[in-house]
């Protein structure tokens, strides 16, 4: 600010010698305006450096101007995940078509009420919640739920879109079994994410079917945890011949941890991830994983909330196995 007053529409109107209504008409391009008025107003705008205030505009026009993406998580580091970038990128395109902007917000697990604050903003034309939790969603009053959709399943009350974790896990683990692995360990994800349970169930079911022991280690979707998990697994179950991590980032960490212990991949131990992030094909060995139609999911979510498409309780998208070198 520096003492500088920000120019308002009033200032523009006064400078141009027209009414506020006329100035507004010229600036928004809505409604009639004479050439003379148009000239005077645009001149005043550039002279004063006028920029309309989005908040006031949204307030007055009773219509949002932004699509918000809220990522729920226990640490802001969640935003480092390339997954979020892909969601945001896609949403930005969908939103741009409808002439609205996008914004990204982080809602700490410890302050779920922030979500309600977002949902209640009239400046928003919609809210997409990534990795929703039931407590967070429940801070949002029912009357506002119509403005919200979720990416990630396991919560009720709003339409949700997610990859089919169950069949995705199934595909990866069966691939490991098919290629002769039997002592398969799994590195899961954060306990508070419902999709993690679904994936672990799928893994356990296959292990039961094939009469194999389950070896589950809790992960948190980070690479660092993956390296630690690798060490933990090889210590507890030295004969492990495959590791499935529910996140590529973690799988990459596992690769690193295994490498550090002199374990060869895939000769000694096969490693598979989940997500197919960009780096998956860049690692050495290239990571076998399951690819997610993140862009499709994000597009569906963005469209659903922007167009207020009826109530679709939960939509699942297929995840497909990508076999590379690590398994």
């Amino acid at each position: 600010m520096r003492g500088q007053r920000i120019a308002t529409l009033d200032d523009v109107a006064r400078t141009a010698g027209v009414s506020r209504a006329t100035a507004s008409r010229v600036i928004t391009g809505q409604g009639p305006a004479s050439a003379r008025a148009r000239d005077r107003v645009t001149a005043a705008v550039t002279k004063l450096g006028y920029v309309p205030d989005a908040a006031a505009r949204a307030l007055a026009s009773r219509s949002g101007t932004r699509l918000a993406i809220a990522v729920i998580g226990h640490t802001a580091a969640i935003l480092d995940d390339p997954y979020v970038g892909r969601v945001l990128t896609t949403a930005a395109h969908i939103a741009a078509e409808r002439e609205v902007g996008v914004s990204l917000h982080w809602v700490p697990l410890s302050a779920p009420a922030a979500l309600a604050g977002l949902a209640g903003s009239r400046g928003l034309s919609g809210l997409v919640v990534v990795n929703p939790t039931q407590p967070a969603l429940e801070t949002v009053p029912r009357s506002l739920r119509g403005r919200v959709v979720a990416i990630g399943v396991g919560t009720s009350g709003v339409p949700s879109f997610d990859v089919d974790n169950r069949s995705g896990t199934d595909g990866v683990v069966r691939h490991l079994v098919t290629t002769g692995r039997r002592r398969i360990a799994m590195v899961t994800g954060p306990a508070w994410l419902p999709c993690v349970d679904r994936a672990r169930d799928a893994y356990q079911q296959i292990m039961n079917e094939t009469g194999c022991e389950t070896r589950v280690v809790r992960g948190d979707f980070t690479a660092a945890r993956g390296a630690a998990a690798a060490a933990e697994i090889m210590t507890r179950w030295p004969d492990t011949d495959a590791v499935f991590a529910l996140s590529d980032l973690t799988a990459l960490g596992v690769l690193d941890g295994l490498h550090a212990r002199g374990v060869r991949v895939p000769a000694d131990v096969a490693v598979a991830g989940f997500d197919d992030i960009a780096f998956a094909c860049l690692s050495r060995p290239a990571l076998t994983t399951s690819t997610h139609p993140v862009e499709e999911i994000a597009a569906a979510a963005a469209k659903a909330v922007l167009d207020r498409t009826g109530d679709t309780p939960a939509t699942f998208f297929p995840s497909t196995l990508v076999v590379r070198e690590s398994a």
Copy 2:
């Protein structure tokens, strides 16, 4: 919406049987209120599912409630860059200390005026521009510049914070020279980024000093371009013995492209990157690069804009060499 009207402060006040002023006092916690009023208002809030509208609040209180990060780029894919995630994460923490939220926005190179729209929003308590360009910055009227800082150098008009690209490049390239490389190629970044020129200058200067030929290929900071650049370089200058990429993502792509051609790294060709992203130490061979104090930079920028710290034209942060396996 679904026909549901969103509850307003008026509704709350009416339900609680108090005036709007009292309701506001209770909800914000500012100003006196009797226990009875407090109870009635909070009851009404939960009953109606009332959530204050941030936009209206910002408008009325004449104070922002959000720190916005705007990333300039030719494609929204810029947001995929882990760099942005780190900036956002750091900013989120700084902002949280001051009880403001953060939001991330993408400003296309083709629509620079979007930046002015952000700068003019009264709902914001500050704006951090990542990868600023002069045209974009110039859409922001002078009176609004006090609310803006930049991460990335080469533009004037607002305080800027950046890594010292020049000395960073210097460190990496000299390391290549020291380890006996002489036919060093460089993969640069997008032409519109001023910092790219600075880095290229530093590279060229060293090449001149050591009497080496310069081999420059244009990059765009993506991995895909890195792979293509590797092919291009090895075709045009088959005797190349080192490649320096001005982005780790690109360097990883170079690694991939080289691997595809059967070139051994670092035996045949050394590869060095720039940024030290998380994956740099996960690649095989692990990437030699230059680490950036991104968190420090982002924190400085966020603090500067939030606290309106005087005019610091341009602040540079040191980038330091990290030697791993690839060079």
